[in-house]
């Protein structure tokens, strides 16, 4: 894909999810990009490098020698008040795991795209959500993206959320590996001037400067550490409101907004609802329509934000459902999928006591078919309130007995 100047595009461009993220990052004008290649993220940083070489993107592009160094470099740059961007996936995300907590605790508003990919072992380069869902506690805002247009838009919105004075928390943008990163859609690319007007330069008092020398990243003992962590926790909780405000402002300026932390689809009066996240929402939505046409009161609840976790919105959307399933591409070994555990926890506090089923599918890039999804709704409708010890339903797996 080659593009001339970033004047307003009269027509949408045909691009992949990765390219959309690259566009979003380019338009956000980061000062520093430090990233390490890993499938299926590579196209993001390749596009950015091309634009740097062509003089279309003015940024300091660091060819770091690992993901740990990528995030360390971003933190160093952020500590000077620079806007930073990086991208990774699975093994790389976990390689930088200590840096995830470091960045969130350090309150560095870095934006990082994560191409959701299966974790070794066994080795597998295809998409599932084990990587990001394994680091929910890292202190990063986690957004799950359904399509390429959203990928571009949320990259821009991501900086606005992260850098907001009441938030100052890093943002992780999750795209399903291959199924979203490498598939192509028409995407509207905003004009640079419009993005500049929406996303002003990053300003923060929390930085090192030659005028006002600062100590950063310091130690805090038992007497003080807790207060820093409470402060961090409250800031990421505020991100839910800020994300909604940013989304509405984005909608006003660009004509597209994404509805906040959760997107209920036909959940009003729904009897059986499937909760899910990421690009699989596309076929779940189609299945809901098909079932509704047959008279089944089906619905879908798409989660866009996993952190901060939108408990209230989830409970509200599921208030009429007698059967709730969670479809996710991960499992917390020894128990259930992470999303299921959290949705169950949210519902424990509500008056509704739906039957709950956890569907784990798509591991290691295994396709989830429309038939699979329809089958989930069928199973849900005959589900009873779970007995303790109910196992995860691994979709499409043949078992004995």
């Amino acid at each position: 894909m080659s593009v001339e100047a970033t004047a307003r595009q009269p027509q949408p461009l045909f691009m992949s999810g990765n390219e959309a993220v690259a566009w979003g990052a380019r338009l956000a004008r980061p000062h520093v990009i430090a990233a390490y290649p890993i499938t299926p993220q590579t196209v993001v940083i390749e596009r950015l490098a091309e634009w740097v070489a062509e003089g279309k993107l003015d940024t300091e592009f660091l060819h770091v020698e690992s993901e740990h160094s990528a995030l360390s470099a971003c933190m160093g740059a952020s500590a000077l008040g620079a806007r930073t961007f990086t991208a990774t996936s699975s093994q790389g995300l976990l390689y930088m795991a200590e840096c995830l907590q470091y960045a969130s605790g350090g309150r560095f508003p870095i934006v990082m795209m994560n191409a959701n990919r299966a974790l070794a072992l066994p080795w597998n380069i295809y998409g599932d959500q084990q990587d990001s869902l394994a680091v929910l506690s890292s202190g990063w805002i986690q957004i799950y993206i359904e399509d390429a247009q959203e990928a571009l838009d949320m990259t821009i919105q991501g900086f606005a959320i992260a850098e907001h004075a009441e938030v100052l928390t890093p943002v992780m943008l999750n795209l399903d590996g291959f199924v979203l990163t490498h598939t192509y859609e028409p995407v509207d690319v905003p004009a640079q001037a419009d993005v500049d007007a929406f996303l002003p330069p990053f300003r923060t008092p929390s930085k090192m400067s030659l005028e006002a020398p600062t100590s950063m990243g310091f130690t805090a003992g038992p007497a003080h550490y807790t207060e820093f962590k409470v402060q961090q926790h409250r800031a990421i909780l505020r991100a839910e409101r800020v994300a909604s405000e940013v989304d509405q402002e984005f909608g006003r300026r660009f004509g597209r907004s994404y509805g906040g932390a959760v997107v209920p689809y036909r959940c009003e009066g729904a009897d059986v609802v499937l909760v899910t996240l990421g690009s699989v929402a596309g076929i779940v939505r189609e299945t809901v329509d098909k079932l509704r046409a047959r008279g089944v009161a089906a619905g879908m609840l798409k989660l866009r934000l996993m952190r901060p976790f939108p408990e209230r919105e989830i409970v509200q959307a599921l208030s009429t459902a007698r059967f709730v399933g969670v479809l996710e591409k991960d499992v917390s070994f020894g128990y259930r999928g992470a999303v299921f555990s959290e949705v169950s926890s949210a519902l424990a506090g509500s008056a509704a006591r739906p039957a709950l089923l956890n569907f784990v599918a798509g591991l290691g890039g295994r396709d989830i078919s429309r038939n699979d999804v329809e089958q989930m709704f069928v199973e849900l409708q005959s589900a009873t309130v779970r007995p303790l010890g109910e196992q995860v339903r691994f979709v499409g797996v043949n078992s004995n007995g």
Binding site: G106, L168, P205, A212, P213, S215, G217, E227
Partner: protein, 179 residues
């Protein structure tokens, strides 16, 4: 000025009163290190050659050049009272009797109290018994090339060990003010 100094510090009462993340003004000290030491250096103006080895050797920046601006201002939370007083005045004189040859010098004090025999290097004046005066040289001018910031001296003894002119002795903190 890039030197840290002690400031008044009141612990923040709630998380909102803390800085945003671990980010705070540089050089913010709340206490000195004086309480660490069990012995401290005292200097002899007569022996000091002004070579500044001690100034370069101190890991804590507690040896200052004469005439340097005072740093490490005492705040209200100094954790250990220093020997009292500034400048010349009342106090105990410490004199060292040097013996011929490679003997050791004995620290003698005119006040009552224990005499510390410090294992110090041989006398620089082989001819005879000289009396060399050692003092707590603090931050006031006194004709020496250096002085000690006793707020931050930990008493490691590197300066005394490293001084080629034997112009520094380490004495016990139990010996009070020495002038």
């Amino acid at each position: 000025m890039a030197s840290p100094f002690v400031r008044p510090y009141v612990r923040p009462r709630s998380p909102e009163d803390y800085p945003i993340g671990p980010c705070f003004t540089a050089g913010h000290l709340v206490e000195t290190n004086a309480s660490w030491r069990s012995e401290r250096p005292v200097l002899s103006v007569e022996r000091c050659t002004g070579c500044l080895r001690c100034y370069l050797a101190c890991p804590d920046g507690a040896v200052l050049r004469a005439g340097a601006a005072v740093i490490g201002v005492k705040g209200p939370q100094v954790d250990h009272p220093l020997p009292q007083g500034e400048g010349r005045g009342e106090g105990t004189a410490l004199h060292v009797e040097s013996r011929r040859g490679r003997g050791h010098s004995t620290l003698v004090t005119s006040a009552s109290g224990s005499v510390e025999a410090s294992p110090s290097p041989p006398s620089p004046s082989p001819g005879g018994r000289g009396e060399i005066r050692f003092e707590d040289l603090r931050l006031t001018p006194n004709g020496a090339a250096v002085r000690i910031d006793y707020d931050f001296c930990k008493g490691c003894g590197i300066c005394a060990r490293d001084c080629k002119a034997q112009a520094i002795l380490m004495i016990s903190e139990e010996i009070k003010d020495v002038r």
